[in-house]
């Protein structure tokens, strides 16, 4: 199945190249070709206060004065609920930001517009396939069709308190054993628990996958029919996560902490290291300006090989969107190089199109990170990152895995048993889809 999907993506990409190469873009039934953009355009955006989309809306409005733009900021945490309510009751947005991990659930329900058809294979007059990395194209494709356009990408690297590392004479770790040693030197513990400068241990699929991929494991088998995360690599990965809690160098960041970004713990110094994606650069700058110059980013330390999950934000057009023409025009506008740079400039996150990835602004030294250019680190992480499997029950599988990870980290079950249980649930879900 996975092979089929990749083949589909390749064929699709080739087709798009062909289409773009043979004729001028005007011969394709592209939405951009169809006169002025009018009507109402509804945009839902989960970025929050540091959004690059809101300024883009203003700029787009200037280009299309006759268009009425209805911009709505919707919180990330409740976005899916709002999106489902909107789509299922006939009040969908025209363009929505969707976390790439939500795509399979919606794509399999037929909720998302087939962008391949809508776009005619071109984005701003150039073939789509030529504007993304192969990994990104793979992530945007569901069963041979493009269902979303990647807007920002997410892959993990290690954020650490460079000021404390320097003070305590710790070098940025590159392997797991160095990582554990660094955590032991960094953390201030009381009663066997890290009270300051701990490594943030998040009990979720993203962070487990990080350790799993780095140990050579995969989430599902090669044709996406069976769980594979309960392999010895998975057990190693989970036990390694737990080792930070066992030796009192990790801070368990459960749902009771109130957020997954850990910003509260970063601000009150409980967290000194964490693994997360580029969007945290923006969150650190806007929410913890007082820690300017204290943080740096390094590639995630590896066990046997580098790896990370590959995700990000996709721009999606619901199948029942009222104004798909305006939606596609706006999506294209958001993906022009100048707007893509806005993802970094306003949101502190990582743009997704290849043109934007090589913009010199991204490699300019960043004073917040002590003159480092952390973006290069994420680019490197992206090159070895893999998206989560595109299977219909993914969100339920995600829940099963994070439940297993939680049980093991809290010592309710051994890592092997917890993963075996989660794998059983996953296999049932895959069999029942």
């Amino acid at each position: 199945m996975k092979a089929l999907r990749i083949a589909g993506a390749v064929v699709l990409a080739a087709g798009m190249l062909l289409a773009a190469g043979c004729g001028s873009s005007s011969s394709t039934p592209s939405a951009t070709a169809s006169g002025p953009i009018t009507g109402t355009l509804t945009v839902w955006d989960y970025y929050g206060s540091a959004t690059p989309i809101k300024p883009a809306v203003a700029a787009f409005q200037k280009l299309h004065p006759d268009l009425k733009i209805n911009y709505q900021a919707v919180d990330y945490d409740t976005f899916q609920q709002k999106f489902s309510v909107g789509v299922s009751s006939g009040a969908p947005p025209d363009v929505a930001t969707l976390d790439m991990t939500w795509i399979p659930e919606y794509a399999s329900q037929g909720v998302l517009t087939d962008v391949s058809a809508l776009s005619g294979g071109t984005l701003n007059g150039r073939p789509i396939a030529a504007q993304y990395t192969p990994g990104a194209l793979h992530a945007m494709t569901y069963q041979g069709h493009l269902v979303t356009m990647l807007y920002d990408f997410d892959a993990y690297a290690l954020y650490y308190r460079a000021d404390l590392f320097k003070q305590k004479g710790i070098a940025a770790p590159t392997t797991w054993s160095q990582f554990s040693a660094a955590a032991r030197k960094l953390a201030v513990t009381r009663g066997g628990k890290a009270v300051k400068y701990g490594f943030q241990v998040l009990p979720d699929t993203f962070h487990f996958a990080q350790m799993l991929f780095q140990s050579g494991g995969t989430i599902l088998n090669s044709d996406d029919t069976q769980a594979a995360f309960d392999s010895p690599a998975g057990v190693t990965a989970l036990n390694y996560m737990k080792s930070f809690l066992d030796d009192g160098t990790g801070v368990y960041w459960g749902p009771d902490q109130g957020d997954s970004s850990g910003i509260a713990g970063i601000k009150d110094q409980r967290i000194g290291m964490f693994l997360n994606g580029p969007y945290m650069m923006g969150i650190l700058k806007s929410s913890a300006p007082e820690q300017k110059g204290e943080w740096a980013v390094a590639p995630a330390p590896i066990n046997t090989r580098p790896g990370s999950y590959l995700g990000g934000t996709g721009l999606a057009i619901p199948a029942n969107a009222k104004n798909p023409a305006a939606a596609w025009a706006f999506a294209q506008f958001l993906l022009t190089p100048s707007q893509q740079i806005g993802v970094y400039k306003y949101g502190g996150a990582a743009p997704a199109t290849t043109a934007a990835l090589h913009d010199p602004l991204l490699t300019k030294p960043d004073p917040y990170f002590g003159g480092q250019a952390p973006f290069a680190v994420f680019l490197q992480a992206m090159s070895t990152a893999t998206p989560f499997p595109y299977v219909k029950p993914w969100s339920d599988i995600d829940t099963a895995i994070s439940d297993g990870v939680t049980s093991a980290l809290l010592g309710k079950q051994s890592a092997a048993d917890a993963l075996k249980g989660a794998a059983g649930r996953t296999n049932d879900l895959l069999a029942g889809q």
């Binding site: 489902s84 789509v87 368990y252 009771d256 309710k412």
Partner: protein
Amino acid sequence: MARVGLHPHTRRALTGYALIAPAMLVTTAFLLVPMALSAYWSLTTYNGITAPTWVGLHNYVALFQDPRFLRSLSNTVAFVILGMTIGPALGLCAALLLNERIHGRAFFRTAIFLPVTTSLVVVATVWKMLLNDQGIVNAVLSFFGLSGHAWLADPSTALYAVILVSVWQGLGFEAVVFLAALQSIPHDLYDAARVDGANSWRRFRHVTLPGLRPTLLFVFVIGIIGSFQVFDQMFVMTQGGPVGSTETIVYYLIDRFQALELGRASAVAYILLAILATLSAIQFRLFEERS
């Protein structure tokens, strides 16, 4: 007004219809029609976009084979049973205390009642912070030499923590209702019992409790029906986690809705309706028996 020509009875009947019209209209449009739609959807596979496909009772059958739904059912039952034993028990204790001859009864009554006026969302938000690993509850416990705990992060304690928060919020209601009932028990009954030489436990057992019976029953019924629909606390405090330990029926319903399984979500709603209808029937029976 067309008074002439209409028989007073007819006019009064027409007025009757006019007076109930707004109520019937709102009930029909916003209650009965949605109920019928929901009943139909529960027999289909439906994502809100493509037309529903008829599947008969498949959603109901599938739910009772779904471990997550069964877990949400058992979590809800645990919430109801524990909440409805601890809550009324503590409420009764508080009412008995308030019924003593004391100074400052108004103050204590207000203090105990205060959380009832506060929305569950506020209560849940505040307690999420209090029960945090670093929160004040653990700080107070450690002051008394007890070790703290990440109450809401641990699947074996999260549900109990949510129950205690709910009890804290509802306690004042039960206390005040019981207090009113206690004060309506005639004093001569106690005097007579005292003359018969009954000690305070026997007076409680044979005078107070029987006097409270109808109120107790009512508090249980109201509380049980309300508790079966618990959602707000979970939405704010735990999001149904950790490891699904606080996922309740309504939480699961919303989750299925979010997954665009509208048919499945509607079936969950009707199962909840069946449970509540059964409980209401029992309630009705009990009240009939009494009167």
